[in-house]
Amino acid sequence: MSIAEEVECLRRIPLFANIDTSKLKLLAFTSERMSFRAGDVLFHQDDTGTCAYILMSGEAEVMVNGPGGPVPVATLASNEIVGEIAILCDVPRTATVRAATDLETLCVPKDHFFQLVTEFPQMGLEIMRVLAHRLEQTTLRLREVLSGKV
């Protein structure tokens, strides 16, 4: 798979949807391709995170540590991003992610990501927009949950 395809893949992720092709290309070029075999762990819960993964092909399982061991909470497919929370704010990984099938990813290191945002404020604005959107969704869900309880 070449840079061009990776750029296409990045474009389908909402976080990067409205960002210039040339910037996405730079992001792709400076990121490392990383393959995982089915069963390999991308990262463990509570580790410190240094990069986010963009799934190019294959599926990954998200698991959270429960009292009786890891509990799968979600499955991710291609064109999805995982681990971005850890690179946006310094918190430990909130879940364990494991490759469910053979997995192709693009690994975006935290410092590259920040350097790009610093150099190109447009990217920062886009990310703010996406995050605000997410926050709104979460607030909405919270309100629903609260009203359901009351």
């Binding site: 070449s2 061009a4 290309k25 792709a28 391709r33 990383m34 350097q115």
Partner: protein
């Protein structure tokens, strides 16, 4: 050492000086004859006047007489030249021998300096003294006696001649000599003083430069470059001033000399002329005296020059030697004696004090017994701990008091005892710029043990040996085997290697050396067994990677018939490791042979196109970034500074096509594809068809390679050891695959397992021992340096091992490991350890607690470890 240069010359070269003088005097008649003969040729043979009737009993006509005289002249020319040649060679050799002796003696003195001296004297001062400052002395020593004797003698002869002709005129001719002899030294004296100042100023400059080099980190940390520049500029200005004044005075002396010399002829012409006119002096006599005086001027000038030179060299010598006259120089016997005495029993400190002259005492009134068969810990508050350790190791000598070993005066033992039977390791040990192995066995090299193998012919060796003796130098053979295997408890080199491996494990340095070994190259001709073992490992690795696809995905092996996706295009083309600069990746685009290969397989245009695409992509990606952005360094094929050039190239191609590019621009574009690593850069520029063509180019490259370039590349051959690649690369024989998670550490583990399984680890560690440690060990980390120094000390198996915070640079885990390993190894042997944590003293037989340079308490740990003691206080504070 002789305090004046003439004492030095006479002491070591009187005989040679006499020979030289005799040779010089012997040459004189021939010189005189050769000056006289031309006159006879002109006056007698050519002009035909006063033709002798017979010559040596033969009757000669005029022409034959001319031939004979000319022949004689030729012989004299050869004889004179020969004399000069012989005398100059003799002088040169004498000068060099004396210089060699002087330098050697100065170096011996450096070795004999008491250690505190080095706090006052820096390498920057010592080095130029021994090297540059004494250099001119060699030239002078040959002239020291011969010139004054010869020229003085000549002068006397001429003066005598003039006096015989006419005493009055003779007196006139030399009348100004006493005045000159009185005046010139007086003027010279000031020049001498300036010369001394100049030497001092230059030495300080050398010292400052040395300091700048040592402290370069501080200079950059604190932005003090300007301050240093100002300081140096100021000092250079001082030197300039001094030199300028020297010139002024020196040339004034010269001027005065010349003037006085010309003043005498003035009197001759004036007074002599007057006397001739009045008939009181014959005309002939005046001419003769004038001619003699003219002859007089030359030796007189030589003598004055010699005088100036002598003064110059006298000062140089004195200035150097006075720096090496140190009052408490170590006795020569301490260094040279060959005695042996096991260090057993008890080391007794009686009222020992230590401190620098005039400075405060760091140790005072120390009284203690240190048994040399047990473990003693030294802890304390304030100064003196390290000094106590160094005194116990006899690296330092006490300023007052006594240290005794039983009945023996410990401080008077030669280093052949203290340097072999005791060993001190401090916190910042020094490693020499050599291989790690050489540094480890350094402590075993006391004297040559066995004759070594020599490549040079025995005749040359004998000559060099006798030359060393003539200059009073050491005659030890550096090529001999100096390693004292017995001291390490070994019977030979192989045994020593095994022991070194054990010691490395003991100080926890084995993993480091293993890693060094993996990344080293080995010459398969010199160490065929290593190459063979590595080839075996390569085969095992191949089998393992093929059997297990999970592992196989981590490494892309080199295959002559396949394109390596994880290698650069350059490496794919060469299919080997470049040796030397010719085929380095950056040089390929301008290498005529490589261009020939590309043209032959029809890849030139394709390369240009790919280069163009790469340039386009790079400009697109990186043009928006600010200069100096780290992405340029890490990712871009094009540096920020080159961007405009490439932009210009791209603009030109857009207008006129690739064909219109100038050769330099073509080279720039052509250089880009070589750096492409398809699997890493993922630009999709190398297509399957291109790979096939590159494989063809690879084949042609190897086939057509001219014989003179054959040495510039070491090809990857599956069944041959690659001498230019590291052991690790030789075993892997391939590239780590990009994009595999943690591929580096995974393969590292596989490699380690494999190496262990094949029992190759010791071999790799052995190769790692060849790792050069760099200047002062700078290529090792601080912790590695400490471990290496510990290993060096342990290898010697000293009777008493003295450590002074020798593990302070290690992390806690390895510190604990190394501590217990050393304690275990030293069971029943002497160990004195200055600890940085009081609690560690628990494991020792005895504890000495120092407080501000005095012993506060000493005894068993259990007895001291109770409330109210300094030890207790210290442990509470930890």
């Amino acid at each position: 050492m002789e305090s004046s240069i003439f004492q030095f010359i006479l002491r070591h070269s009187t005989r040679q000086q006499v020979v030289l003088t005799i040779m010089t005097l012997a040459s004189f008649p021939f010189l005189y004859a050769s000056l006289d003969l031309p006159k006879r040729i002109v006056n007698e043979a050519i002009a035909g006047k006063k033709l002798p009737e017979t010559f040596l009993g033969f009757h000669l006509d005029q022409v034959t007489y001319l031939w004979v005289l000319c022949g004689l002249f030729l012989i004299l020319v050869v004889l004179n030249g020969w004399f000069k040649y012989i005398i100059n060679t003799y002088k040169g050799r004498l000068g060099e021998r004396m210089l060699r002796r002087l330098r050697y003696e100065l170096y011996v003195r450096v070795l004999r300096f008491p250690l505190p001296r080095f706090r006052k004297m820096s390498p920057g001062e010592i080095i130029p003294m021994i090297t540059a400052e004494v250099e001119p002395l060699g030239g002078f020593i040959g002239d020291a006696i011969a010139i004054p004797v010869f020229q003085g003698g000549t002068l006397l002869v001429y003066i005598a001649f003039i006096f015989i002709q006419d005493p009055v005129l003779g007196a006139a001719a030399v009348s100004l000599y006493p005045f000159q002899g009185w005046l010139i030294p007086r003027l010279q004296r000031k020049v001498n003083q300036l010369g001394k100042q100049r030497v001092r100023a230059m030495r300080q400059i050398a010292d400052r430069i040395g300091e700048t080099v040592s402290g370069i980190q501080e200079v950059h940390t604190h932005d003090t470059a300007a301050w240093h520049l100002a300081d140096l500029s100021h000092r250079l200005g001082d030197v300039y001033d001094i030199r300028f004044e020297i010139y002024q005075r020196k040339f004034f002396v010269k001027f005065l000399n010349n003037f006085i010399n010309q003043l005498t002829p003035f009197f001759f012409y004036a007074i002599g002329g007057y006397l001739v006119i009045h008939g009181r002096l014959s005309f002939g006599a005046l001419v003769a005296v004038l001619a003699a005086y003219k002859d007089l001027a030359a030796p007189w000038k030589e003598l004055l020059d010699w005088y100036q030179q002598k003064e110059d060299n006298r000062i140089k010598y004195e200035q150097v030697v006075e720096q090496f006259h140190v009052p408490d120089l170590l006795e020569d016997r301490l260094l040279s004696a060959e005695e042996d005495l096991p260090l057993r029993g008890t080391l007794t400190f009686q009222n020992v004090g230590f401190g620098e002259d005039g400075g405060s005492r760091v140790l005072e009134a120390v009284n203690c017994d240190i048994p040399l068969d047990g473990h003693t810990a030294v802890i304390g508050i304030g100064s003196g701990r390290d000094e106590l350790a160094q005194l116990a190791a006899r690296v330092l000598l006490p300023s007052s008091g006594q240290i005794r070993l039983g009945e023996t005066d410990y401080t008077a033992l030669p280093e052949s005892v203290t340097g072999r039977r005791a060993t001190y390791v401090g916190a910042t040990p020094y490693l020499f710029s050599a291989s790690l192995y050489d540094n480890l066995v350094y402590g075993l090299r006391h004297r040559p043990m066995r004759a070594g193998e020599h490549e040079e012919p025995p005749e040359r060796r004998r000559r060099r040996l006798s030359e060393a003796m003539l200059s009073g130098n050491a005659t030890y053979d550096t090529r001999a085997d100096w390693i004292d295997y017995a001291a390490a408890g070994c019977d030979g080199p192989a045994d020593l290697k095994a022991r070194i491996l054990k010691v490395l494990t003991l100080v926890n340095l084995d993993d480091d050396v293993y890693a060094m070994g993996l990344s080293r190259t080995v010459d398969p001709e010199q160490r065929p067994e290593v190459a063979a073992a590595v080839m075996e490992a390569r085969e095992a690795m191949r089998a393992m990677l093929e059997e297990n696809p999970d592992l196989g995905r981590l490494v892309e092996r080199f295959d002559p018939a396949r394109f390596t996706m994880n290698s650069s295009v350059a490496e794919n083309l060469l299919f080997g490791t470049p040796v030397g600069p010719i085929f380095q990746p950056d040089a390929l685009a301008s290498n005529p042979y490589v261009l020939h290969v590309l043209a032959k397989v029809g890849l030139t245009d394709r390369f240009l196109e790919i280069g163009h695409k790469v340039a386009e992509t790079m400009v697109e990606l990186f043009a928006g970034l600010p200069p100096g952005h780290e992405f340029f360094e890490r990712f871009s094929f094009i540096g920020f500074a080159e961007l405009p050039e490439y932009q210009a190239i791209l603009a030109r191609t857009a207008k006129d096509g690739l064909g219109a590019l100038r050769p330099a621009e073509r080279t720039r574009l052509m250089s880009l594809p070589f750096r492409l690593i398809p699997a890493r850069h993922r630009l999709g520029l190398i297509k399957p068809e291109g790979e096939a063509r590159l494989l063809e180019a690879r084949r042609v490259f190897a086939e057509d390679l001219p014989a003179d370039l054959r040495g510039a590349v070491a090809f990857f051959e599956p069944d041959t050891y690659n001498a230019a690649a590291s052991i690790q690369d030789n075993i892997l024989f391939g590239k780590l695959v990009y994009g595999q998670a943690q591929v580096g550490s995974k393969v590292g583990r596989i490699l380690a397992d494999l190496v262990d399984r094949l029992h190759l680890r010791d071999t790799v560690v052995e190769v790692g021992l060849d790792h050069p440690v760099g200047v002062a060990g700078s290529r090792l980390s601080a912790a590695q340096r400490q471990k290496a120094a510990l290993a060096r000390a342990m290898l010697k198996r000293p009777d008493v091992l003295i450590l002074s915070e020798a593990t302070s640079g290690l992390d806690t885990a390895s510190q604990n490991k190394v501590h217990s390993a050393i304690m275990e190894d030293r069971k029943g042997c002497g160990l004195i350890w200055v600890l940085h944590r009081a609690a560690l003293a628990r494991a020792f037989d005895r504890v000495i607690v120092l407080k501000d340079g005095r012993i506060a308490e000493q005894g068993r740990f259990e007895d001291l470890s109770k409330p109210g003691t300094v030890l207790h206080e210290m442990m509470a504070a930890e």
